[in-house]
Amino acid sequence: MKSSHQIELTAGIFLLLAIAALIFLAVQATDRGVVTGGSYEVTAEFSNVGTLRPRAKVNIGGVTIGTVDRIELDPVTFEARVTMRIADRYDELPDDTSASIVTAGILGDQYVSLEPGGSPDMLSDGDRILFTNSALVLEQLISRYLFNTEGGDN
């Protein structure tokens, strides 16, 4: 039987080990959070967001610069309004930037891809991206191909 002093010491080491595991798991094995520092919001309206969900990524040229914060339906225009949260260090997006909803691979998640324009004016917090491309809905594409019609809403 160990002395009580040693037992307390070992118990202390055990708890320190657990704290080390906590820090290791929290830092190494979870997302770093794309938007860690300050961020600003921009919105974009799409006629169809497909399966885009909150927390989806917002990319420019494949580099993640933010996440989708929320998706709501505009009660007047019946368009889906996607609010994106973009990291502050990417605060020089031209206001003629266009947004499209694309899919990673064939079965991957959908995300928002931004294409910067050439305007000298920049987007700021709360601004709206005017040029948007809706999500491609595979079923609509197939039906258009099968029936060779002009159907579909986009």
């Binding site: 037992i7 070992t10 657990a18 595991a21 798991l25 979870t30």
Partner: protein, 256 residues
């Protein structure tokens, strides 16, 4: 003895047991006192419940990580998605396997010894002796074990998760040649700190409370015979496993 009792009160025995366990917990909590002596005793119990469980937790965690990676790597490679192995591993560990397996292992390793210890104290009338010396056995014996279990289980879950990830890393990186950065990068891209890791840790706190509560309860209510202590020890494992699995379902449904 137990059959005779069941014959006289056959109805709602399970519900009565549950009520008694709840009253017992309430009594322990209401009599809790936090002194310097209690702190040292709790630390000693963390040693017995936590440190002594390390070997089984680390071994089990390592092999669970290894085997889970082995199986999911093979399955995912058939769809050309072998890179997603680490994501699958981390998500299933953090959200389900880590807390549940640790709680059940804890019940088998530490819960049983707590039950047997308290049950034997009851059988050898040590608890009555403490009472005679005006020392409250609930405060002196039960409280440190209860608190130690509640601290040890989340700590063990953290260690279990870390070792299981290590086991997965060994298989995916060293045996199958996945890139280390791909392994960690995929986890970092998908596993969320609050929603996946945090909820798993909340679960482990709940399981810690349940596992140590049932262990002290069955020890305290054990019949003061050899057979009674043996029965109580078995019941601790069975009850903890069932309650943990049920609670896991409820908590998962609540949190998702």
């Amino acid at each position: 003895m137990s059959t005779a009792k069941q014959n006289t009160q056959p109805r709602f025995q399970a519900v009565r047991d549950f009520g008694r366990a709840l009253l017992f917990l309430g009594k322990v909590i209401s009599r809790m006192r936090f002194t310097r002596l209690q702190f040292g005793e709790t630390l000693r119990q963390i040693y017995f419940a936590g440190v002594r469980s390390l070997v089984i937790i680390v071994t089990c965690g390592f092999f669970v990580g290894l085997v889970l990676t082995l199986q999911s790597y093979d399955a995912l490679a058939r769809f050309g998605a072998a890179d997603a192995t680490s994501t699958l591993l981390a998500l299933s560990l953090f959200r389900e396997l880590g807390p549940v397996l640790t709680a059940i292992l804890f019940a088998g390793r530490a819960g049983t010894s707590i039950t047997a210890e308290i049950g034997l104290m009851r059988a050898t009338e040590q608890l009555d002796a403490l009472d005679l010396m005006a020392i409250d056995p609930l405060e002196r014996i039960v409280q440190p074990r209860l608190i130690a279990g509640m601290i040890a289980v989340p700590a063990l879950v953290l260690i279990f998760n870390a070792t299981a990830l290590l086991g997965g890393l060994v298989y995916a990186v060293f045996l199958m040649g996945t890139d280390t950065m791909v392994f960690w990068g995929n986890i970092q891209n998908t596993v969320e700190l609050g929603r996946d890791f945090g909820h798993g840790m909340l679960k482990s706190v709940g399981f810690g409370i349940v596992a140590s509560w049932l262990a002290v309860y069955y020890g305290w209510t054990a019949k003061p015979t050899g057979e009674g202590v043996a029965l109580a020890t078995t019941q601790t494992v069975i009850a903890t496993a069932i309650v943990v699995l049920f609670l896991d379902f409820v908590l998962s449904a609540l949190m998702l």
